[in-house]
């Protein structure tokens, strides 16, 4: 019994001597922006998960907010 206890203690003590793997990580996979956030602050006019609707919405938003020639002339 004492013999087994000593082996157990030795295993616990030697476990600290093990080296942790140092393999380089890679970035976690990111979900696409068109899948949405589910936030209440989401801009209206498109449906989360619909890539085409998201793209069209962003293009329209860009024209409306940044192209002042088309807005004012």
């Amino acid at each position: 019994m004492k013999h087994i206890a000593w082996i157990a203690v030795a295993c616990v003590m030697l476990a600290a001597c093990g080296e942790k793997p140092q393999t380089a990580g890679s970035p976690k996979s990111d979900s696409a922006a068109y899948t949405g956030t589910g936030s209440v602050f989401t801009a209206p006019g498109w449906k989360a998960g619909d890539k085409t609707a998201w793209e069209l919405h962003l293009k329209a938003r860009q024209q409306n907010s940044q192209n002042d020639y088309s807005r004012m002339n």
Binding site: P27, G36, L58, Q66
Partner: protein, 207 residues
């Protein structure tokens, strides 16, 4: 969709720093880090020009090329993002970037660099879209909310254009035609040109 791109119209930028403030506020950027800065060329000289500078999300991003731990990735829309859980804060990306975009918080013990922080095109990071973890590490994910980067949407003179590259080019081209000058686009060739990033521009060519 074409790639997401930034361009700053130096004929319009009035150095108000609204873009800098919008970015800091929207993403709660840590003290000591500015993801976006306004740079003035020939400051104080008549005809001085100002431009708003941040990560340009290059086509052939040099930061991605030099990162020893491969923490960068590019989304389908061409936005260059990075994983802070993989970044070791070595700073190679800041030396490689022609725009000085990568920033490092300096609150580490004995001046140790923290994880790199940079403009995300308001597209968050690899955490779950819209989650608290994503916001704390990378800031708000406006793209996934159907919005464009806060800096461009906040720009009072619409000098800073952001979004679909085709639309950006269309808006800028129309401006140049209308006003008959100011066709120089600072950084466009370096970030989105066909030549390899980091190489010297051809003689007389605009960068």
């Amino acid at each position: 969709m074409a790639r997401m791109k930034f361009v700053c119209d130096s004929e319009r930028c009035i150095e108000c720093n609204g873009c800098v403030t919008a970015c800091k506020n929207e993403n709660e950027v840590p003290w000591g880090v500015n993801r976006r800065r306004v740079v003035t060329l020939n400051d104080g000289v008549p005809g001085e020009k100002s431009i708003s500078v941040a990560c340009m999300h290059c086509s052939d991003a040099p930061c991605m090329a030099v990162c020893p731990v491969n923490c960068f990735y590019k989304t389908d829309e061409g936005v260059v993002l990075h994983d802070k859980d993989v970044c070791i804060g070595c700073g190679y990306c800041s030396y490689a970037c022609p725009f000085g975009a990568p920033q490092f918080p300096s609150q580490g013990t004995f001046g140790v660099r923290g994880k790199m922080d940079k403009c995300t095109f308001c597209a968050g990071g690899p955490e779950e879209n819209g989650s608290q973890a994503e916001f704390e590490k990378y800031g708000r994910n406006r793209l996934a909310e159907g919005k464009l980067p806060a800096c461009a949407e906040m720009c009072s003179t619409k000098a800073l254009l952001a979004g679909d590259g085709d639309v950006v080019a269309d808006i800028f081209r129309n401006r140049v035609v209308q006003r008959g000058k100011g066709a120089e686009v600072w950084g466009w060739g370096t970030a989105y040109g066909s030549k390899k990033a980091g190489q010297a521009p051809e003689t007389g060519a605009k960068s």
